[in-house]
């Protein structure tokens, strides 16, 4: 690696590293692992023979080197084996349709949502079961965090200067989970997006934290759909007027009920497009004018969520229990899926 990439920190020890990193504006506030050249080199072994294929990261417009990319993964606490997943996620973030620049500079609280499919979930221990959005799984925690650190550090999107989020959101620390393919009655999410069965993929989108859908009472698909549609019909979400992608992450028990009653991922999309709508009477007149400025008109007396059934992405994750989640997005973003690169 070039000399410019290595920083000498005389007198600094592993113990005092956290203070020094914080002083330099590195990290997310939680302690990080010092990215020593040795650790970085060890991490990069997992990318042997794999090109980064990363373009400039907005807003700085700088292109990460292999070493600075790996340094961020090390800081986040990644094991070498986690790096290909982090790389796939960052490649996806840099796709123009993801709109990383807009995502970083917006006042909206969106975070990079990272969804993992395929066998890499098992080999890395990525949680798609109980508490998969929450704390307690190393792979989920460090992969999501590494993705965020790359944009913060190389892109220079520090909170307060480039990152202008009004309130931010806890998902901005880290947000990564696997699909619970094993308990899903549907084809894996990645396969429905055109990837081969057995191929590991990462899907990203700029999203809010998950919005819980609790339904312990409904025992039929119809009953559940009423609750799901009601939860998705939110007056304050970007998806109502900026449109764009949104996600329905069904808990396995809700998914099983819907499947039993004949629902498929595709028919659920169609049905929820029709059913999840916000009555015009629930939107203030001023806000109706703002929607109009954005070219958004109600259909009759109802505003639909986003632009069509294809904008709703349905997958299964979580453990036992009668909960699902709706995940609204920033709107001006897209769900982008990339294959996890494998060593030749």
């Amino acid at each position: 690696m070039s000399e410019a990439e290595v920083v000498e920190l005389p007198g600094v020890t592993e113990e005092s590293w956290h203070e020094v990193a914080w002083e330099r504006g590195w990290g997310d506030g939680l302690p990080t692992v010092p990215p020593t050249p040795e650790r970085v080199a060890a991490a990069l072994e997992a990318l042997d023979g794999i090109e980064l294929e990363l373009g400039p990261v907005p807003p700085s417009g700088l292109v990460p080197t292999r070493e600075s990319f790996a340094a961020n993964a090390v800081m986040a606490g990644c094991r070498p084996a986690d790096l290909p997943v982090v790389l796939a996620a960052v490649r996806a973030l840099l796709a123009p349709e993801y709109n990383l620049h807009g995502v970083l500079a917006t006042t909206h609280p969106c975070a990079p949502l990272v969804i993992v499919n395929g066998p890499v979930r098992t080999s890395l221990g990525i949680n798609g079961g109980t508490n998969c959005f929450g704390q307690g799984t190393r792979a989920n925690a460090v992969i999501g965090r590494a993705v965020q650190l790359v944009t913060t550090h190389v892109g220079g999107a520090r909170p307060g200067s480039m990152d202008r989020s009004t309130q931010g959101g806890p998902a901005k620390y880290t947000w990564c989970f696997g699909e619970n393919e094993e308990e899903s009655p549907f084809e894996p999410f990645s396969v429905r997006r055109g990837f081969a069965p057995g191929e590991s993929t990462v899907t990203v989108a700029a999203c809010e934290g998950p919005h819980n859908i609790n339904d312990h009472g409904s025992t039929t698909g119809e009953g559940l759909l009423m609750t799901i549609a009601g939860t998705m019909a939110q007056t304050g979400s970007n998806n109502l007027y900026v449109k764009g992608p949104h996600f329905l992450v069904l808990g396995p028990e809700h998914a099983a009920t819907l499947h039993r009653d004949g629902w498929t991922a595709e028919s659920l999309r169609e049905r929820l497009w029709e059913q999840a709508r916000v009555p015009v009477s629930k939107v203030s007149e001023e806000n109706q004018r703002q929607f109009e400025d954005w070219g958004v008109q109600p259909e009759g007396e109802l505003y639909p969520v986003s632009t069509g059934p294809d904008m709703l992405h349905i997958l299964v994750a979580g453990g036992a229990g009668k909960h699902s989640a709706w995940i609204p997005s920033f709107g001006a973003t897209a769900a982008v899926t990339r294959a996890v690169p494998e060593r030749p």
Binding site: P59, G61, L62, A105, G156, G160, S161, M162, R164
Partner: protein
């Protein structure tokens, strides 16, 4: 900023909160932006407040525009 790089004089109307953002972007793109700072916010103002913002911004723009034109 893309416009300035292409030789178009492009003064930017920016609210005070977003000034650091614009400056950071300008630094990354290696351009010196012509910035007119307006007190934040602009959205949600009533008509009178908006008129005040316009007056303040015009006061900064006109000399800047004159200078750019004479500099040609």
């Amino acid at each position: 900023m893309e416009l300035e790089k292409r030789g178009v004089v492009a003064p930017l109307l920016v609210t005070s909160t977003f000034l650091p953002l614009v400056e950071a972007q300008a630094k990354a793109r290696r351009v010196t932006p012509r910035v007119i700072v307006v007190p934040h916010p602009v959205g949600g103002l009533n008509e009178q407040e908006l008129v005040e913002r316009i007056e303040a911004a015009a006061g900064a723009l006109l000399p800047l525009a004159d200078a750019a034109r004479e500099g040609q």
